[in-house]
């Protein structure tokens, strides 16, 4: 069963002619790490708010553990741990006090785990939240999110603005949680390198629609960069048809030849391609998730979420 399921979600804000989210449907299988990617304004934040029952969609529905989120929010949220993009808490409260406060709300609150994690992170449990750095606040939020042993962890761009040490600590703890409990994770992130080594599934929001929704391994296998030179031969009558077998996302003609990014690479079709009349020195290379992102988004950087 899916831990999370979104069905035909539509979100339209008043005064805005085009919907912010349109026809969004996907599901997050148990034990997976689902990365939700998209540029600024692609609708990630709206989607996350709907998923957490913080916002009522214009139409469509989100389900957590098979139940509608909007109607059963209070009950369902007990099984969800959330690390928001900008963790917020009363600035005068220490992490220890926050933990004690949360313990009253969750029946199975593991207070010692909070202390243990903060010790591992090197974050003082007795310092007021408002005096902690951004990285320390994110780590406190993670320690609190994990203390209820959630079945689903929602991370909204958690490593944004963290330094290398805090980022490493964050991922180590996440890995430990995945190894120990197999927790299902939904995350949004601008840290594509981090996502690439952690995610099992990728969803890509573009202009309010879900442009991609598939396993990371499949995605990486089908996207490839081809480089080749076009040679005029006696038997050759036309150029530009050589890529007909591929779905070319981008094609650039360069001084030495052609560079194309294709979205349906297969060994066999590439072998046929290399044998085409006039196609010489053809080679294919893998793309990083970031390169795939850029090819789809059509921009150099995913940018910061507003």
């Amino acid at each position: 069963m899916s831990v999370l399921e979104v069905r035909s979600l539509l979100v339209r804000y008043g005064g805005n002619p085009s919907p912010t989210l349109e026809e969004i449907s996907f599901s997050v299988p148990r034990g997976s790490v689902y990365a939700l990617l998209g540029r600024n304004g692609a609708g990630k934040s709206s989607l996350v708010r709907c998923l957490l029952g913080q916002q009522k969609p214009t139409s469509g529905e989100c389900f957590l553990f098979g139940e509608g989120v909007w109607k059963r929010r209070a009950r369902l949220m007990a099984k969800v741990g959330v690390v928001p993009e900008d963790p917020d808490a009363p600035p005068s409260m220490t992490a220890r006090q926050l933990s004690a406060f949360c313990a009253k709300l969750y029946p199975s609150w593991d207070a010692p785990s909070v202390e243990a994690r903060l010790a591992r992170f090197g974050v003082p449990a007795g310092t007021p939240f408002g005096s902690l750095s951004k990285g320390q606040r994110a780590l406190v939020a993670l320690a609190l999110a994990l203390a209820s042993s959630p079945e689903l962890l929602v991370l909204d761009d958690p490593t944004l603005g963290l330094d290398a040490v805090a980022r490493r600590a964050f991922f180590e703890e996440l890995v430990g949680e995945l190894a120990d409990r197999g927790t299902t994770v939904l995350l949004t992130s601008h840290d594509l390198a981090g996502v690439e080594s952690m995610a099992t599934h990728v969803g890509f929001l573009k202009d309010g629609k879900l442009a991609l929704d598939e396993e990371l391994e499949t995605l990486k296998a089908r996207f490839r960069r081809l480089r080749y030179a076009n040679e005029a031969t006696e038997d050759r009558t036309e150029f530009g048809q050589e890529l007909a077998d591929f779905d070319a996302v981008r094609v650039k003609v360069r001084g030495w030849g052609v560079e194309a990014i294709v979205s349906n690479y297969e060994e066999e079709s590439f072998a046929r391609f290399t044998a085409l009349e006039g196609v010489v020195d053809a080679e294919s290379s893998a793309l990083s998730l970031e390169e795939i992102f850029v090819a789809i988004a059509g921009e150099a950087s995913p940018g910061r979420n507003a």
Binding site: L178, A179, S197, M198, E283, A286
Partner: protein, 138 residues
């Protein structure tokens, strides 16, 4: 742990899936003698933490190595390099050798190496690995 995993690195931007990279690299460490029969390998959790990758990915690579007889799991103790190096079925062994040779041959051709030059390097590396295994030096 650092010592055991030295040389076991992965590259998320590589075209090979991460579990395959773990599988291949661990095989290489065993083949080179850097990991001796009976040696302990890091737990799934530790290796995942060290490489900052999803533990399910490490587990998949390990499972394939266990299935292939390269690693063994001793309940409650951990995962170890198998006592006897695995002998894959004849056909499969042949296929793997061919596939590996094809990868190297493609590289050599791409770099414009002559057959003689390419073969010299293969011989050199073979000698190097065998000496390492026999000498027992890491």
């Amino acid at each position: 742990m650092g010592r055991m995993t030295r040389g076991l690195t992965v590259d998320p931007s590589d075209s090979a899936p991460l579990w395959r990279q773990i599988e291949d690299n661990m095989r290489r460490l065993v083949a080179s003698g850097a990991l001796k029969p009976g040696a302990a390998v890091p737990s799934v959790r530790d290796l995942a933490k060290e490489l900052s990758i999803n533990p399910a990915t490490v587990a998949k690579g390990y499972q394939r190595l266990v299935d292939a007889g390269v690693l063994t799991v001793r309940r409650g103790e951990g995962t170890f390099v198998a006592d006897k190096p695995p002998v894959p079925p004849r056909g499969e062994r042949e296929k793997e050798l061919e596939a590996g040779a094809l990868r190297y041959a493609s590289l050599a051709v791409t770099l414009g190496a002559s057959n003689e030059e390419a073969v010299v390097h293969v011989r050199g590396r073979l000698d190097f690995l065998r000496k390492k295994r026999e000498g027992g030096a890491e």
